[in-house]
């Protein structure tokens, strides 16, 4: 492998890893704060992708504007679903809650399939062209994805680490009872976490639509890797999730090139298995409080 090719694959892996990180941040947020494994997370990515596709092709709106629009739409839908459905399952046995998000996922898949059929769609509006840096060629669209992921990712981490509501989210992730006894409105904080996480997923969907083709399973496929990322990173650990996302993105890029996509998937899950054996609490080795 030549050095320029190496850099190229690294860059490609970084773009996928950055997207994965945004999706995984949401999964980790919902798991850490709401204590729910959100199987439907991928469908929210798909929602953002189709929403962006529609506003770009039907309303002639720039896909760049589609990103914040998708975020707002996702946050609204997320808030609605948390309030109307997920919060009502709270306190039920874990399996019941899993079934609720699983059902949401299947329903979402069904809605997208019947509304948009299985066609692969894409659009050409928005940033185009390439950008060369030495011997590495990166499409402007990929560069946009990378930049937006950076901004959104750093923004989310700042919200969690530095703001008042972020303090509530972290408190809630460590001890629900203590958080409540400290005057935190637990349902409201959960609603915020769910809405933020789904907003992130939908924004990631908008970015996916910019660099790839859109189809009803586009988010579903991405989220499988996002779950791996969250487990690798240590359930609920935000730093770990980001690190794991980048690692998975890069491993995928190299394996897909050297072998093929199936091998990339096999390797991803071997990596997951090895990490669980060697570092049961994830890459950064942190426990999540009970």
């Amino acid at each position: 492998m030549t050095f320029p090719l190496f850099l190229q694959l690294l860059t490609n892996g970084l773009v996928v890893g950055a997207l994965l990180a945004i999706v995984a941040l949401g999964v980790a947020l919902i798991f850490g704060v709401v204590r729910v494994v959100n199987f439907a997370h991928g469908e929210f990515v798909t929602l953002g992708a189709f929403a962006t596709y529609l506003v770009v092709t039907q309303l002639n709106i720039s896909p760049l504007l589609g990103i914040p629009l998708a975020f707002v739409l996702g946050a609204a839908v997320g808030a609605g679903i948390q309030a109307a459905i997920v919060s009502r399952a709270a306190g039920r046995p874990e399996l019941d809650v899993l079934m609720v998000t699983y059902a949401l996922s299947i329903i979402g898949l069904g809605i997208f399939s019947s509304a948009f059929s299985g066609d692969f769609r894409s659009y050409s509006e928005g940033p185009s062209g390439i950008f060369t840096l030495g011997s590495v060629v990166i499409g402007l669209r990929s560069l946009t994805v990378l930049l937006v992921c950076l901004i959104v990712g750093v923004g989310t981490i700042l919200v969690v680490q530095r703001t008042r509501i972020g303090l509530a989210l972290r408190a809630l992730a460590q001890s629900r009872d203590s958080a409540a006894a400290c005057g935190i409105n637990v349902p409201a904080a959960e609603l915020f976490a769910f809405a933020l996480a789904v907003g992130l997923a939908a924004a990631a969907g908008a970015l996916v639509s910019l660099i790839g083709t859109i189809h009803p399973r586009v988010g579903h496929d991405l989220v499988l890797d996002a779950f791996v990322v969250v487990v690798l990173g240590g359930m609920g650990s935000i730093g770990g999730a980001v690190l794991a996302a980048i690692a998975i993105g890069i491993v995928n890029a190299f394996t897909s090139f050297a072998l093929d996509d199936s091998w990339a998937r096999i390797l991803t899950y071997c990596l997951l298995y090895a990490t669980l054996l060697l570092r049961p609490h994830g890459l950064l080795g942190r426990h999540v409080g009970a």
Partner: protein, 233 residues
């Protein structure tokens, strides 16, 4: 009465942990609840702050809290120091305090921090330290300071001397005495009845979920059954 518990019942599945217990805490008064392990003392406090489902009526300063969630009860002025401290172990000392004052306005938060650090200089020295790395005594101070951030009118304290050396127990009780002198009402659950009975005005004994004895603290302290069971003659 600042707090009235009226016929409180707590069940875990079929098991009755608290069986129609009623008690009142007068404004500025110190009430002690004693009883053997599993008597339902912690469950009673958890019901008072709203962390377990309960039947019966709870009024605080005349307001019916029975249907209010925990966070509203806290913001109305009930501080809770739970059994086993239940700190945010991965947060720093200062972050724990900030969560404790989550419902406070910015100036009230500032004042709460100043008060907490004034009362517990050890915490001021360690404001950036992760809570789980502190000693047991420091952690208990932090649990108290966290509950005091909102300047509560009533403090619920559960086994505050658990796991502490005699010197630290004395310190913790000295702090409670100081708070009580400042006008805070205290509802305390405590195994270390000998020390607690010196300070409380009234005391109750629970057993198997029921109230079995209640009276003025000095009378209870002389009660032969209590002395045999909880104080050791």
């Amino acid at each position: 009465m600042i707090l009235s518990l009226d016929s409180i019942e707590v069940r875990y599945g079929q098991a009755v942990a608290v069986d129609r217990v009623s008690l009142g805490v007068g404004a500025g008064k110190w009430v002690l609840v004693m009883g053997p392990n599993g008597a339902g003392k912690s469950s009673l406090l958890r019901a008072a702050i709203g962390l377990v489902k309960h039947r019966g009526r709870i009024t605080f300063e005349g307001r019916d809290l029975s249907a209010e969630p925990t966070w509203i009860r806290q913001r109305l002025g009930i501080g809770y120091v739970p059994e086993g401290r239940q700190l945010f172990t991965e947060m720093t000392v200062e972050e724990n305090l900030r969560v404790g004052g989550y419902g406070c306005s910015a100036p009230a938060l500032r004042r709460g921090l100043d008060l907490a650090y004034g009362m517990f200089p050890r915490l001021a020295e360690r404001r950036g330290q992760i809570a789980s790395t502190m000693s047991g005594g420091e952690q208990q101070m932090l649990a108290m300071a966290r509950a005091l951030m909102i300047e509560p009118k009533l403090l619920l304290v559960d086994e505050i001397s658990w796991g502490l050396s005699p010197i630290l127990v004395a310190q913790v009780f000295a702090t409670l005495v100081e708070l009580h002198a400042g006008g805070i009402a205290i509802l305390q659950v405590e195994q270390n009845a000998f020390e607690a009975l010196k300070h409380a005005q009234s005391a109750l004994v629970m057993s198997a979920g029921r109230l079995v004895l209640e009276g003025a603290a000095d009378e209870i302290a002389r009660d032969r059954r209590v002395v045999e069971s909880y104080i050791g003659a």
